[in-house]
Amino acid sequence: MNSENDDRDLMIRYARAGDIEAFEEILRRWDARVTAFLAKASRDRDTGEDLRQEVFVRVHRYRHTYNPRYSFPTWLFRIAANTLKTWQVHANRKPVFESLEDHPGMRDASDPAPHPRDCAAANEGAEKLRTAISNLEVSERSLLLYRLNLNLSYREISEILEEPESTVKSRIYALISRLRQSLHPDLIT
């Protein structure tokens, strides 16, 4: 896997020397992850693809503002978060109460796992969970994805969101707890 230093070096090469090959390498490494993050956060694959392009356009446009003191993923996903926020403001999207699995683009064609509805008994919990996740706010889904999908540390997430590390951790724990309770309303809170 790519290391953090590699990403930082690539970005420095691109920002300072205009090394296009370095940018292509960044693109190759981060394209799928950025797309997945944006598609899941926005709950729409096409939106995710569009936003992904906008994110990399901004990376190109603001490459000179990259500060090597920060990790590359922090900088990249701060751009992604801002892009998502802008999209949310303009689109004025309202929560759509549909399962992620209803969107064909949300499932990898190569994924051998059967559709949850095909084995309802076994995956009833999973489907309920996805429904509960789809009912979350965009910012809440993003928060979960930073930690569970991108494996960013609380420090990195706090840098992206410009919030204290402890607040970020509390919010993520509270979110997970809320999701669990939505699956098991009989749980004592």
Partner: protein, 249 residues
Amino acid sequence: MNPKEREQRWIAYFLGEADPEEQRRIEEELAASPMEAEEFQRFVKDLHSWAQEPVSAASLRMHDILSRAGEPGMKPEKASSPFMKPTRWFWALAAAALLLFSLSRISFSIRTEFLSFSWGQKAGGEEFRTLEENLKSLSARVEDYRQAAAENQTMIQTLNLRNRLLEDNMRSAVSQIVHNQQIESRTRYNDLQQIMQMTGGGLSSFQSGSEENSSKTPFEGRSWINKSTNNDPPSNSESRGIKEPSPSP
């Protein structure tokens, strides 16, 4: 420990954030509650599977980014929609076609004193013949106007010449008048001189009594005149060859 606190610790454990000692304690708790532990484990697994599920999407190309960023030398992407947006040329052509169609459907005629013009479905050979005749008539009139303009031009030149001659005549007449006045003045002055000589000191009759002091030459009273009176500079009258009358006693 309340259930809320225990849940928070379990979340940390399943996210791999608990330290080794805490891990050991939580594993003991999980062993003590196998049903709840299984449910929690399944929940966290589902959460991870949602988060890490890949999303199929076409790879982003470098060209797309640079062209969208407006980099020079990068052609913008073609519109993905099969319905191309109409361009300005399209609208211009459509407007021209509409105008031509409208003109072909209407008929009108313009008749003035010099010109008669018809357009439309009724326009035929007769109208074109009329138009040709009118054009010939118009050409003849234009030629007339051109000749008239040439004559006017000649007249203007003649008038300019006449003005110039008049100016010359006037200038010479004025010169003559001035010359005559000079001669007359000189004659009068000579006559006056002769009269004064004949009357002999009769100049006083021309001067008032209060002007006695003026009988002195303008240079009197100056030191160099008093020293050598023989070298007195000539008066203005003498310098001009006019003999001044001697001062009155």
